[in-house]
């Protein structure tokens, strides 16, 4: 391509993060573009296979009380193959959870991006606390090898009426640190995805922590008032992130 002043793509580049106008080496990608792609993929893979430092996360959340649990998936390979195990608590963990009477419980699950959880989970919880006066909020549950539905079992055991589950989202090449939140009223095992509200794409180039906290607290307040979450609540909510790939109807539930 010619120099910046004559770049006919200039007006388009600002409109998309897509890898446009990469140039060609014959029919192939030029070396620079090839290696940039490999770097982005490597970071996404590292995010999937990395482990959350839950000790550091607990320190970031202090002085909030935290409880650590594991899912029934023993390791990452099992977690990736067996979504059913990632949705259930390990029996020893389940027995260790303190019972109580809470309006809202935060559960932080590593999900598919350790980096997202490490960077964004504690700031989001803290931003919510400053916005939520008067609610009784339980100890924050830190869950390893965990999927969204694990929050239902944890919250029902701990006596919470509403659960906000924060989870590392499947990384893309342009966003490896994206956090999602699933809000569920009257959590108990067997809840369907349609009974939750989702806020997606929370990261430095996506939805900001402040904007996500605003949405989450609005939804939590409405959920407590209407005593429900899911499709019925979503209809009245301010428009959520347009990049919600968890609800993408393309094929199955990725």
């Amino acid at each position: 391509m010619s120099g910046e002043r004559n770049d006919p793509w200039a007006r388009f580049r600002g409109a998309t993060r897509a890898r446009i106008a990469l140039g060609r080496s014959g029919d192939a990608l030029p070396t620079t573009a090839l290696l940039e792609f490999q770097l982005a993929h490597a970071r996404a893979r590292d995010a999937v296979h990395g482990a959350v430092d839950f000790g550091r996360l607990a320190a970031d959340l202090a002085p909030l009380e935290t409880v650590r649990v594991r899912s029934a998936a023993a390791d990452r390979a099992t977690y990736l193959r067996r979504p059913d195990l990632g949705r259930r608590l390990d029996p020893a963990s389940a027995a260790s959870l303190p019972a109580g009477d809470w309006d809202l419980l935060f559960v932080i699950a590593d999900g598919l991006s350790a980096a997202a959880v490490q960077a964004n989970a504690a700031p989001l919880v803290q931003a919510c606390l400053t916005r939520l006066g008067g609610l009784r909020i339980g100890p924050v549950v830190l869950a390893e090898q965990a999927r969204v539905a694990l929050g239902d079992e944890a919250a029902s055991r701990m006596g919470a009426r509403l659960v906000a589950l924060l989870v590392g989202e499947r990384p893309g090449l342009s966003a490896a640190e994206s956090l999602g939140v699933y809000l569920t009223w009257d959590p108990k095992p067997g809840r369907a995805d349609s009974e939750r509200n989702c806020i997606s794409n929370i990261h430095s180039d996506g939805l900001s922590i402040a904007a996500a906290a605003d949405k989450l607290c609005w939804l939590a307040t409405e959920a407590a008032r209407l005593k429900l979450t899911g499709v019925a609540l979503k209809e009245d909510a301010p428009s959520l992130s347009g990049h919600d790939n968890h609800n993408n109807p393309r094929i199955g539930r990725p």
Binding site: H41, R81, N201, G242, R250, P254
Partner: protein
């Protein structure tokens, strides 16, 4: 039902592998994949897997006409398969076992004409069964003999050609961003199958805005292409009612009535959509107006697989597809994730199975050669699958800028990949689109589309014209 069995070994090492019913036999005969293991129906040893294949090889093909894997009474896809079965077309292979059918498919006798005539006589379960006895290379060779040709503004699926879907997705459906990815792809000669956007927001006004933008690009450059916004079928029907320029109706489909209900569709709704789009008469060389996507694992994901293995239930989706004379069908093979297809070995195998079964059933199959970042796969693996599929005569491949879909957060093929395959294998795009490239003066003396020189007047003019 007495069930099935196979004895292996001699004397004290003799072991009888039993399979309770036809579903269990099919599931155990399937190559190993994480989705069947997740469903608890996979063979629990490699020996048992081969024992199942040996029993399946001896099974008369006509068994599948008498024994439904999903009940006829409660599933409209089964009723479609059985009620539309063409016994006359089936006659040439009616006496064969599944193993004999494999041998015949690979024989010289089974040429393109014989396979085309046979298609209405085959059920998805027969295609799935024989695929389980085939190696990857068998799947390539048998599929390469089939051609399924469809038409709208271009002719897709002709022997010796390779078409492509240009997929210019954007995380917020920004029209300038989508136009940028579209123009970039056109400069690689991509888009002769369709320019198809997965919308971030599924609503009627947003869908219409995108359709009008794509139609403006098409008419401005007099391009022989068709466009599609891959919204839900009900959204597209409403867009048609409001006068939007709808070329193709898109829908994700699956292999059981319950799984389709999970997508919010039924056979009657698809028929209504096809009728509405055909009535617009926007095609110039044909009236194939439907575009379907499928993929192994979708039925299990919707808890609608009824104990049928994921490859067989996927093949049943092709019976749904062929009932509506689609222009395009593609499997989104690696999109669904490692709980269904764990790694590149499983993704590659599934892509070849899907293409083979669809072509055998007379479905115009393409493929999204792709993977997610939590699967054990990378672009090197996609290189293998795209080359095997192109050799097998796949109708079209999907391509996105730099292989990175910034909306759906997964990796497909890049524009470079499809162009490189066309040049390597000497497979030009659809004839109408190739003629446009020729007229525009974009092809060199060897019929290649070479790189644009820095400061190219053509590129500058195209972008300036599009932005105007």
């Amino acid at each position: 039902m007495a069930g099935y069995h196979r004895d292996l070994g001699d004397g004290s090492r003799r072991h009888r592998h039993r399979f309770d019913d036809l579903r269990a036999l099919m599931a155990c005969a399937s190559p190993r994949r994480s989705g069947d293991e997740l469903a608890g129906i996979a063979a629990d040893s490699d020996e048992r897997r081969v024992a199942a294949r040996m029993a399946l090889a001896d099974l008369p093909l006509k068994t599948f006409l008498n024994e439904a894997l999903v009940p006829y009474e409660t599933d409209e896809v089964t009723r479609l398969i059985i009620d539309r079965h063409d016994a006359e077309a089936f006659r040439p292979v009616a006496h064969m076992t599944v193993g004999q059918f494999r041998d015949w498919l690979l024989s010289y006798e089974a040429d393109g004409a014989a396979l085309a005539a046979l298609a209405p006589g085959l059920t998805p379960e027969m295609a799935a069964a024989v695929s389980k006895l085939m190696r990857n290379h068998d799947l390539v060779c048998a599929a390469a003999k089939c051609s399924v040709v469809t038409r709208f503004r271009t002719t897709i699926g002709l022997p010796g050609r390779l078409s492509s879907r240009l997929q210019p997705n954007h995380p917020t459906d920004d029209p300038t961003g989508i136009a940028a990815s579209t123009l970039d792809g056109l400069l690689y000669g991509i888009g002769d199958a369709v320019v198809g956007i997965n919308p971030a927001t599924d609503n009627v006004p947003a869908c219409i805005a995108l359709l009008e933008m794509l139609d403006a690009v098409r008419t401005r450059f007099d391009l022989p292409i068709q466009s599609c916004v891959l919204a839900h079928v009900t959204t597209t029907i409403q867009a048609i009612e409001r006068g939007a320029p709808v070329d193709l109706v898109f829908q994700s489909i699956a292999g059981t009535e319950k799984a389709n209900a999970g997508f919010g569709v039924s056979l009657s709704l698809l028929a209504e959509a096809q009728e509405a789009a055909k009535a617009l008469k926007r095609g110039t060389v044909g009236d194939n107006v439907m575009y379907f996507e499928t993929g192994q694992g979708s039925a299990l994901s919707a808890d609608a697989h009824f104990g049928v293995d994921q490859q067989t239930v996927e093949a049943r989706a092709y019976a749904v597809a062929r009932a509506f004379d689609p222009l395009l069908v593609n499997t989104v093979v690696g999109f669904i994730g490692p709980e269904y297809l764990y790694d590149a070995k499983q993704i590659t195998r599934a892509g070849l199975e899907d293409h083979f079964c669809a072509k055998l059933l007379g479905v115009p199959m393409g493929c999204d050669v792709c993977y997610t970042n939590h699967a054990e796969a990378d672009q090197d693996d996609m290189d293998v699958l795209m080359t095997m599929l192109a050799t097998a005569g796949v109708n079209f491949l999907i391509a996105v800028p730099g292989a990175d879909d910034v909306m759906l957060n997964y990796q497909s093929l890049s524009y470079h990949d499809v162009l490189g395959l066309r040049h390597l294998l000497k497979r030009p795009p659809a004839p109408e689109f190739e003629a446009w490239l020729d007229k525009a003066g974009w092809l060199d003396g060897q019929r290649r589309l070479p790189p644009w020189p820095g400061g190219s007047d053509v590129v500058a003019a195209l972008l300036a014209s599009a932005a105007a």
